[in-house]
Amino acid sequence: MIKFRSLSKSARTGITSYSIILLAFAILFPLQNLGIINHSISGQLVPICTYIVMALSLNLTVGFLGELSLGHAGFVSVGAFTGVIAASSLQDKVSPDPLRLVIAIIIGGIFAGIVGLLIGIPVLRLRGDYLAIVTLAFGEIIKNIINCLYVGVDNKGLHFSMTDIKSLGMENGRVILNGPQGAVGIEQIASFTAGIILILFTLFVILNLVNSKAGRAVMAIRDNRIAAESVGISITKYKLTAFITSAVLAGMAGALYAMNYSTIAAKKFDFNTSILILVFVVLGGMGNIVGTIISTVILYMLPELLREFSDYRMLIYAIILILVMLVTNNDRIKLIRANASAAIMSWLRKAMSRTKNQPKGKEDAHNG
């Protein structure tokens, strides 16, 4: 058997993150189908999955590329509304729900990617925090554009307007996007299974990218830009690669997220949402994939679990955030934690070799 600890760090990250997701699916899927978990939690399963994808994709920009993005919700928004428009207009043409969902997710990803490209080309050439400023503005601009966008579909095709429904000029058409009300009459075709598949896809893309020539180039740029340039790495090209990949994945998550609700408004994807995703990434650890997944689940569920504190809910949430930040950044606590985990590991290994009571087991414990 290959020893887990002897594997490379990236292989361990891959195995750990895939198994967490698959294990969660194996436990929660039957529970959800049998109706054992209560309704409020089972309703959160798809949003949690999509938030994990949003956080993982933002981690690509913030953790692996080392650029700060404050408008990640903007890409989610682009993906959500283009996805909804795609799904609604294909309602009669493509009948299987899962297929329509896949098409919507792909279209959401493509459009978010195009927007990412348009933003990235001018901004990623610059050094400094310009990306943060521009993405911050972009998030707000997208929100306001969608707020006054009207989209409808009839048998002639899609109709767009920036004024009102009447000016769409439809006959017997359906309204998909109704200005400030957002998308209305969405078919709720999102499912927990789709969410898990999207997370697995995201992990596949990110882990593969990180362990490739392109991924090494991205991390080289983050670690030492001048050295990266000196070995012939084109800075703009690889910054764009990482940024667009991040935008595409965010757009896919947005499309799936929107399909989980019957209506969804643009103000759902505002600055606060961008910051929320950023908090998941920062507390999970920049560039840390397993940490991002865990922190997203915990921090997303926390407000739900704190519901009984009603008014003090967000106060407690904030205090917990601060405490986590202090604990994860305090060297002394880090040392205590490292010692504790080392002690637990050695105890476990001893216990295991005792139960096995074989020379090989002992050897393993010694080497491991």
Partner: protein, 280 residues
Amino acid sequence: MDRMVPYPSNSIVPERDVDKRPVLETHHLGIDFGGLTAVDDFSITVGRSEIAGLIGPNGAGKTTVFNLLTNVYQPTRGDIILDGVSTSRKTTAQINKMGIARTFQNIRLFANMSVMDNVKIGMHNSINQNLLSAFTHGFGYRRSEKASRDEAMELLEFFNMEDVAGAEAGALPYGAQRRLEIARALATHPKIILLDEPAAGMNPSETAELMENIRRIRDNFNIAVMLIEHDMNLVMNICEGICVLDHGKVIAKGSPDEIKSDAKVIEAYLGKKKEADNNA
């Protein structure tokens, strides 16, 4: 040591390189920072297999010359011709692709990555891997990764570093970090490698090993070497052509023997001689 002969007319290269096109030429290169002229009228020629030295007192503009050659700074005046092609308006990355690799005075490794990954990043432009295979880990991914791993390992073996391939680059001892930086630069398949104070902070035995390594680099990889160094023992021992810079200007060019006895060089390093010394 090879006799130095003029090429084309006002420069000198080792005899064996005379018939070949020089790997690097600069013509009247200069840069101003605001009103300050950091380097002026810098013209040199480096032969295809030459080990060239760039020396001078602190603040003479030696590292600035390296930054000009790699276009970290855009030259205000003059031309750089690399193997017959001008490098003007090229980015640092493009110049590296054209054949100039370098190391840095203050080591710039990718400290959090493994030694192997540092070398692989150096091989960036020679690894045949597109984005599709990067995202899917199919379509030739394994083949390209294996090829790059093998080549990186060969380079590490050249520097006796194969045992630390998996170690974190930042955790290596100082001398090993310097060697790794050279290995990473060589991984880019350069025609000329620029070494910025490769012996800084090394003890005599490490310096001796470095000298041997620099000769081996020139002979095995068939490239030219240009180095900035304050260790005169090293410079005088391995460099064939030496250029002395003071206050941004070339004050002397020639073989080590010529440089050692050049009055201007002695003045730049030791100050002006007294009348009495001159007469003695």
